[in-house]
Structure formats: C-alpha cells, structure tokens
C-alpha cells in the first residue's frame, strides 16, 4: 500500500494543547477559536520511507518530532484502508496564523512507517510512544484528539474528498519532543509497524 495522492495533516486537534491555547485564541491575530479542522499539506519532498535518514538543516539546532498516525484512503471516498505510524517533523514555531510552509515542508520532514490494516478501537486506545536514543521521550494516544477519527474525516470530506491514495495525519501532540542531528527516533504503537528515523547533520552546504 502506497501513498498515491496528497498527504494532509491537522494541527490543534490535541485537547491538552487546545486547553493551553484557549486564551490566546481569543486574541489577535486569531480573535476566535478555530471552527473547521486546521489542515496543512506535507508535499512529496518531505516523504521518507523504509527508515531513510532525515537531514536536519544546518541552520536549525533542533527539530520538533511529533509522532502520529497516518490514515491511507482507498477507492471509496472517506474510507481509510490502512494506517501507519508517521513522524511529522518541523522547525519549532509558535504561531498558527500563516501556513508554516518553511517550518513544516523541508526535505525529509515526514518519515512514514509501513501501512497495515488496523482496528479503530485499538488504534485509539494504544499508546504512541516516542523513544529518542533508546529513552522514552514522549507518550500519548489518539484518545486526546479534539475531533476523533470518524468526526475528523467527516468534517474534512465535507469540502475536500479523501480517496485514492490520499493520506490524513490525524493530529499532533502539542507537547511533542525535540531532537538534534545525530539522534535516533523510534516510534511504537502496539497495533502498527514500528517506525525508526535517524537524524543527520546537513553537510556540504
């Protein structure tokens, strides 16, 4: 099973993060809390498979690594057929006002594990655990999502259909850890194939 369409992700879908930002959402530039799912695109230059290394751009001291679940859509609109672990990498940034293309869309900023069939209940209840150099650095579960998976798919497909190889990253933890070049990240979930990503220093710039 392969990605054959567009990879979309959603931010601000973590209840803990939304709670922490509630006051900021009432102020400029936001003025009001988000209504629709806040979506972004991870273009093809970001995708890395089979444990390929991620290069940390030379001007960045560290990057944020948010472990999440990628849903792969099949022939039927809005119906996921497989899931994988994914590591959404970005340059740490505080503002959600403008699309964070420079921060989120660097080459290699989306390692994706193998896609596999899944059970929705087990997917949601299982822990998504991020290990950095063999030490547990972060743990969360999809039970923290503001919009659960069926609700999220429904609201997204209301204006853009997910199908035929499209992918949806279902949410990012607001407290995701950071890593630097030279570190190894491993993401585990009991129901999905483990994802490993090595972070390397950019050379030759």
């Amino acid at each position: 099973m392969m990605i054959a369409g567009t990879v979309y992700g959603v931010v601000l879908n973590d209840q803990a993060q939304r709670g922490a930002l509630a006051e900021a959402f009432g102020q400029k530039p936001y003025v009001a809390p988000p209504r629709a799912p806040v979506l972004y695109v991870k273009p093809r230059n970001c995708w890395r498979f089979d444990g390929a290394a991620v290069t940390v751009p030379s001007e960045l001291v560290e990057v944020e690594v948010a472990a999440t679940v990628a849903l792969l859509f099949g022939d039927a609109p809005g119906v996921p057929v497989a899931a994988a672990l994914a590591l959404d990498v970005c340059e740490p940034h505080a503002s959600f006002y403008r699309p964070a293309i420079r921060q989120r869309c660097r080459d290699g900023f989306l390692p994706v594990g193998d896609f596999a069939a899944y059970d929705l209940d087990a997917l949601v209840s299982g822990g998504i655990v991020t290990w950095v150099d063999g030490v547990e650095a972060h743990r969360w579960s999809l039970a923290r999502l503001v919009r659960d998976i069926p609700e999220l798919i429904d609201e997204v497909c209301d204006f853009m259909t997910l199908e035929n190889g499209d992918v949806l990253l279902v949410g990012l933890a607001g407290d995701a850890p950071r890593v630097a070049a030279g570190q190894e990240v491993r993401v585990e979930h009991e129901g999905l194939p483990t994802l490993v990503a090595h972070f390397e220093r950019e050379t030759g710039v």
Binding site: A4, P34, L39, Y40, R44, Y97, T161
Partner: protein, 250 residues
C-alpha cells in the same frame, strides 16, 4: 508548443495543440478537434502545488493588508483542480466566492538552492489558474485555510501548458478575469510583489522542487462575488484563456 491533458477514449492522455488552435494531436499521430476535447487539468500526478497570497500590492491593499515581507505561500492538493470548461460548485452559503486569475509557473528540473539569476531556466512552462476563494470560510489559522482554498473542483487550471520559451518574460503579461463578459479583474504580472524568479529562489532555498511542481503566483486587484450559473473567463496574454462555470449547489 502547447500541451493539454485530455480524456480520450477511456483514458487520460497528453496532446499537442495545433498552431491554429483547431485540433489536438495525440502521441499516435491522430487528432481530436478542440471543440470535442474533454479537458483535464494539465498537472502531473504527485506534483507539489504552491500558491501565493497577497502577491500583488494592489490586491493586498484592497483586502486591507500590507504587502508581506516574506512570500505568503500555501499548498494545495490535486482534487481541487478542474479542467477547462468545467463546473465549480458554489455552496448555498458562499455569498462571497470570488475568482482569482493567476499565472502558474511549472518547474522543469530539480531545483535546490537556485539563485534568482538562474531561476527562470528551471521553469518549463506556464498555464492559467482560477484560484477561487470563499471568504465566509476564512479563519485566522494557517490562513488562507484549506476550507477556503482547497475545496474539491474549485481551482480550474489550463486549458494547456505553454512552453516557457514561447512565453518570454513572465513579468509583463496582461491578465484579466471576465464574469459573464464583464471585466472584473485587469492587471499585469509586472505587479507581482515577489516575481517568478524570486519565488523559485525562495522555495528552493529550503526545499527541493521537482519537475511538474507548480507555483500559482497570486492575483491582482479585483474582488467580484460570483453566483450560480456565471461564466468566468481567466485570460493571460500569450498563455491561455481558461473558461469555468459556477454551479450552485446545496
């Protein structure tokens, strides 16, 4: 050379437009009259689609924004595209849906850290987009958000790709939008805040661009709200004339 993507006898194919714009020639040497063509958006599967907000100073002023110091870039998926003479859905509550005529630059070879002086040699061709927006759905999170800019079938593209060599200077092209024959946008690509070469330098400065990637370069002044049944024509001199129909739904 002008190349179109059409649906022909059960499959999608590329075809070359004749000089008189009467026929499309297929790879096997056969012809399809332009009047019978089923136009598809001329886009390569998997391509990254960049679009620009506030990239004409007169349009920024009209929306009450200062022109940005850094390009305001957002991304699109492919299901938002629609071919020439297609129908774009207008939801019943979208009273502020407006067309945006845009020059589209297509990347021809891998680009990473390309300087502005060389940047245009990385462009293989140009086409026209009508980048509809629905202002009711704007929110201040990753603005312009995808509910505004990435709706199914709301980015008409085409009718064809013109080779870059046949376009010449991309910064001196007149562009115009007409709704039911009335001009609602009239500008020139000379009015871009960040020109095509600068955008390629900027984007390739932090990511790799690949052949087929597209940059929708933003739109000039002129916000006109459309209604179901409207015919919208976006035309860029020397590139193409893209026709779209607004279809009221819901």
């Amino acid at each position: 050379m002008r190349r179109a993507r059409i649906y022909h006898r059960g499959r999608e194919v590329w075809a070359a437009l004749s000089a008189d714009e009467a026929v499309l020639e297929l790879a096997d040497g056969s012809f399809v009259p332009v009047s019978e063509a089923q136009w598809l958006p001329p886009v390569v599967p998997g391509a990254t689609i960049f679009a620009l907000g506030l990239n004409y100073a007169d349009h920024s002023a009209e929306l009450g924004f200062k022109a940005p110091a850094e390009p305001l870039v957002f991304l699109k998926g492919h299901r938002t595209f629609l071919g020439h003479r297609g129908a774009s859905p207008r939801p019943a509550d979208a009273n502020q849906m407006h067309p945006e005529c845009e020059l589209v630059a297509i990347i021809g070879k891998p680009a990473r850290r390309v300087g502005r002086a060389q940047a245009l040699s990385y462009v293989s061709g140009y086409t026209v987009a009508c980048d509809y927006a629905i202002r009711e759905y704007l929110e201040n999170y990753y603005r312009p958000n995808l509910r505004v800019k990435n709706r199914d079938a709301t980015t008409p593209l085409g009718p064809w790709i013109v080779d870059a060599a046949d376009v010449g200077d991309p910064q001196s092209l007149a562009l115009e939008t007409r709704v039911n024959g009335t001009v609602v946008q009239a500008g020139n690509t000379s009015g871009m805040v960040f020109d095509v070469a600068t955008l390629i330098e900027y984007l390739s400065g932090f990511m790799t661009l690949s052949p087929g990637d597209m940059i929708l370069t933003g739109t000039p002044h002129g916000v006109h709200f459309v209604a179901g049944g409207d015919e919208v024509v976006c035309e860029i001199a020397g590139v193409g004339r893209l026709v779209n129909f607004v279809e009221g739904v819901g």
